[in-house]
């Protein structure tokens, strides 16, 4: 008998449930966010000095010449992987808060996920007959996620060539955003799947790569967690659970559990 905590789930951005807004203090909403300063104060220095590279802010392991975390399992063509990398960086860009998708290793995270059971839809019901049905009936594609990603990134490049005469990875940020928005809004015809379904997979995959445990190849150096002030899999909050003040902790990961 499951009883998942549904309150955690039901206001997710991907829930499809829209919200009305009751604004008590309109100034704070329309006045925008003071956040860059807050988080930037804690994290800004390490991003603005030293390790900034053209990989989007990835921190290099010192002297490590055997970077298995940058070898690919799924994508065979460089062009496809370049589209994936650029698209994830637009979804989760590097900024004053810290690294973006590329710096966090998100493209490699997605590559590995697509090479495994998730990409092959091992735990999905994949028997026919296939029929698109109504929106209320959920995902009905005969394609695996791996097939959808491959088709999707290639189509992003086609739209880019058709519209701007260049590869997606070489476009300006605004042009890239425009193309991704077209996929998000269902303006691109895909085969066997809708473009919003593909875009949503890309979006979820990017967020999962930014914030999952580093053992999967994303969230490098736990920097995704640091930006969110999330401490990782801490064993106990028995002594902190009643605290009123917000507590910032240096994060740990599952590898700390195995090695300690």
């Amino acid at each position: 008998m499951a009883d998942n905590n549904n309150t955690d789930n039901n206001t997710n951005g991907d829930s499809g449930i829209s919200r009305r807004t009751f604004i008590k203090n309109t100034g704070l909403v329309t006045g925008g966010i003071v956040g860059g300063g807050l988080l930037g104060g804690i994290l800004g220095n390490q991003w603005q000095t030293g390790t900034q590279t053209d990989t989007g802010g990835a921190t290099d392991e010192e002297g490590d010449t055997n970077r298995v975390d940058e070898a690919r399992m799924f994508f065979t063509r460089d062009a496809d992987f370049n589209v994936l990398s650029a698209a994830t960086e637009r979804i989760f860009p590097e900024d004053d808060n810290g690294p973006g998708a590329i710096g966090l290793g998100v493209p490699y995270f997605i590559d590995r996920q697509l090479a495994g059971s998730w990409g092959d839809n091992i735990h999905e019901y994949m028997q026919g007959p296939f029929s698109q049905g109504e929106d209320s009936q959920g995902f009905q594609s005969a394609l695996t996620r791996g097939q959808i990603f491959l088709q999707g990134v290639r189509q992003i490049n086609e739209v880019s060539q058709d519209g701007f005469g260049e590869a997606f990875a070489d476009l300006e940020e605004e042009q890239q955003n425009e193309i991704l928005s077209a996929f998000e809004d269902g303006e691109v015809d895909m085969r066997g799947v809708t473009s919003p379904t593909f875009f949503n997979m890309l979006l979820q995959g990017t967020l999962q790569g930014a914030y999952s445990d580093p053992l999967y190849g994303g969230n490098r150096n736990m920097d995704g967690w640091r930006m969110k002030e999330y401490p990782g899999p801490v064993m106990s909050y028995m002594n902190e659970i009643e605290e009123e003040e917000f507590i910032v902790m240096d994060p740990i990961s599952i590898s700390d559990h195995h090695t300690n």
Binding site: M1, A2, D3, N4, N5, N6, T7, D8, N9, N10, T11, N12, G13, D14, G16, R19, R20, T21, F22, K24, L28, V29, I33, G35, L39, R90, I91, W118, H123, E124, Y125, M126, Q127, G133, E134, S136, Q137, G138, F139, L180, T206, L207, S212, D213, G224, W225, M227, K228, E229, Y230, P233, V234, Y237, M238, E240, I241, E242, E244, F246, H258
Partner: protein, 586 residues
């Protein structure tokens, strides 16, 4: 030809909470019990080093894979049902422990009103209060009759809690004190007090202190680590069949657990069950397990599907309302999970990374018949709740309306608000309707070629009334708690499989209990009216879904069924409850 195994006293189909309870009680009484579980064996060793959000929360690693079978869904009879293909949209338990491994741990008793909902509603408001098509009925048991079994379940699980102001009456206090109160919970308590409501902490199976249950099993104190709902607990601090009833059964020496065993049919001669047919999923070999008593202790979908595949009982007909197998299907999260509002706080950050599955607080002034419904366009009601399960950074990306859901502004604001938002929801009941039911799908099959179960179910006007009533209470609470921006979810037109709240984890009905074989499949011992050595145990027996979570009620009914089975075995069979108005249809 299937291999014939030696006959045993009792065979259970599924080894989660209900199967574990049946196995523990009957093996303690000296009966030989075999538990058939289609998943593998899980022990607490599997839970170590498992604080992995991608594996367990995103990819739901403890739940049933849909590779071989699923459920088909349609909103109404005019549609063609299609399979739920993604496992994230159908989160049902598997392996030993079943859903009792990954549950959050809220352990509620239903109300006296629930068990007599039809007669109490008619007595107080008249028959016309019940909307057309709503098929509520009394459960064939009263709260007072079920209370001792609720107590048994709570003692076994060591539940932590405090009594609310509205009851229901208890024969014993909760076995352990309530969990600690986080700061947002104290905000909720103060706000509810200010508004004149009656707040109290959720009854929880994540328990507050180390506890030894009456069977001698130990459950440890919750660490508030937040890896709870969707996870097995690595501290053995969440009460779970894997650390309670299953080892209790195993220690008797009278219980044989067979994992990887998928039951495909109930076998019977005339009106007596003779055993079950199952496939060993590791070898492909088929076996017959003969037994004096067959107990279906799987999830709602599989309990009902096995009855239909085995052609036991009268299938329900939505046109006439006759027949019982498949009748009164309801889903809890379907209607209630979207009834929530989020509050953003500009000047306050909360420790949302801390939590426990059933850590939270609620007020219940508007549930059951705790208030006068004369001027309301609904019956029953719900509970306003704040729950702190612990935020998963992958899904904790709340941003106020008008913010894009990706890109620079999204990143900025989702980081800023990550620890500045609280969700309040209204957990409400779900009522059965004549055209909401389960039957066998005409098109889609499992990998053996057997039809899948088909679900016909949608949002009702009654759900909409409750939603609109509850959502205003959620907004009111967040205002009183001082949120700067408050955003209530909008009512959904109809159920959607991909909306994240509707994951079929709280599904009920299809083999409901009652006091007459005309209107129910099982009596109040969960014994089939039509086959008295077959018991169907679980939320499949609920004639409607109460406002809060189901596990304690399913657990209490399992203890009651175990007592009935023992009585049946001692007294040489027969129906344990007298039938009322038996006018069987042919």
């Amino acid at each position: 030809m299937p291999t014939q195994l030696d006959k045993v006293d009792v065979v259970t189909v599924g080894v989660g909470w209900t199967g574990g309870i049946i196995a523990a009680e009957l093996s303690k009484a000296g009966y030989q019990v075999v538990g058939l579980e289609r998943g593998g064996e899980v022990t607490v060793d599997d839970y170590l080093h498992s604080k992995d959000q991608l594996k367990y929360d995103s990819r739901i690693g403890l739940m049933h894979s849909l590779s071989n079978d699923t459920v088909t869904y349609r909103n109404n009879q005019d549609m063609e049902a299609l399979p739920i293909r993604e496992n994230s949209n159908l989160r049902n338990g598997t392996h030993t422990g079943g859903g009792g491994k990954h549950w959050a741990g809220q352990t509620w008793r239903y109300l006296p009103y629930d068990f007599e909902i039809y007669s109490q509603t008619v007595d107080r408001y008249g028959e016309e209060k019940i909307p057309e098509g709503m098929t509520i009925q009394d459960w064939g048991i009263t709260y007072d009759e079920l209370e001792p079994y609720y107590d048994r379940f709570e003692q076994t699980a060591g539940i932590s809690g405090e009594e609310g102001s509205f009851g229901p009456e208890r024969s014993n206090p909760y076995p352990t004190p309530p969990l600690k109160e986080s700061y947002p919970m104290r905000m909720f308590r103060e706000a509810a007090d200010n508004l004149g409501y009656h707040p109290y902490r959720l009854p929880s199976a994540n328990i507050s202190e180390t506890y030894e249950n009456p069977d001698g099993q130990t459950i440890y104190a919750c660490q508030y680590c937040s890896f709870c709902a969707n996870y097995g607990c690595d501290f053995a601090a969440k009460s779970d069949p894997v650390i309670t009833v299953i080892p209790t059964a195993q220690e008797t020496g009278n219980f044989e657990l067979r994992t990887g065993s998928n039951v495909t049919r109930i076998l019977y001669e005339g009106d007596q069950a003779t055993g079950v047919l199952f496939t060993d999923l590791e070898t492909g070999e088929e076996f017959e397990q003969p037994a004096d008593i067959v107990v279906l202790t799987s999830y709602t979908f599989n309990n009902v599907r096995l009855l239909l595949l085995s052609e036991i009982g009268d299938p329900y007909d939505p046109e006439t309302g006759e027949g019982v197998i498949g009748k009164n299907f309801t889903d809890h999260h379907g209607p209630d999970s979207s009834c929530a509002a989020i509050g953003f706080f500009e000047d306050q950050k909360f420790n949302l990374h801390m939590g426990a599955g059933a850590l939270g607080i609620v007020y219940d002034d508007f549930v059951g018949d705790n208030f006068d419904h004369t001027d309301e366009d609904f019956i029953h009601g719900g509970m306003v709740r704040y729950q702190q399960g612990g935020a998963n950074p992958m899904t904790n990306n709340e941003v106020p309306n008008g913010t894009p859901n990706w890109g620079r502004e999204f990143k900025e604001k989702s980081l800023y608000y990550a620890n500045r938002s609280l969700v309040v929801n209204f957990m409400f009941n779900s009522m059965p309707y004549q055209d909401h039911y389960l039957d066998l799908d005409p098109t889609y099959t499992d990998s053996d070629g057997d039809p899948l179960i088909r679900m016909t179910y949608d949002f009702s006007d009654h759900d909409r009334s409750l939603f609109n009533f509850g959502i205003d209470l959620c907004v009111e609470m967040l205002e009183e708690m001082g949120a700067d921006i408050i955003e209530p979810n909008e009512e959904m037109d109809r159920f959607e499989v991909e909306s994240t709240g509707f994951t079929f984890q709280h599904s009920s009905g299809g083999a409901i209990m009652g006091d007459s074989p005309d209107t129910s499949a099982v009596n109040n011992y969960l014994q089939m009216w039509d086959m008295d050595n077959l018991f169907v145990v679980g939320a499949s027996a609920f004639p409607h879904f109460g406002a809060p979570n189901p596990t304690a009620t399913a657990g209490a009914l399992a203890y009651r069924a175990a007592e009935g089975i023992e009585e049946y075995l001692e007294n040489g069979g027969g129906l344990l409850v007298k039938e009322r108005e038996r006018t069987k249809h042919t």
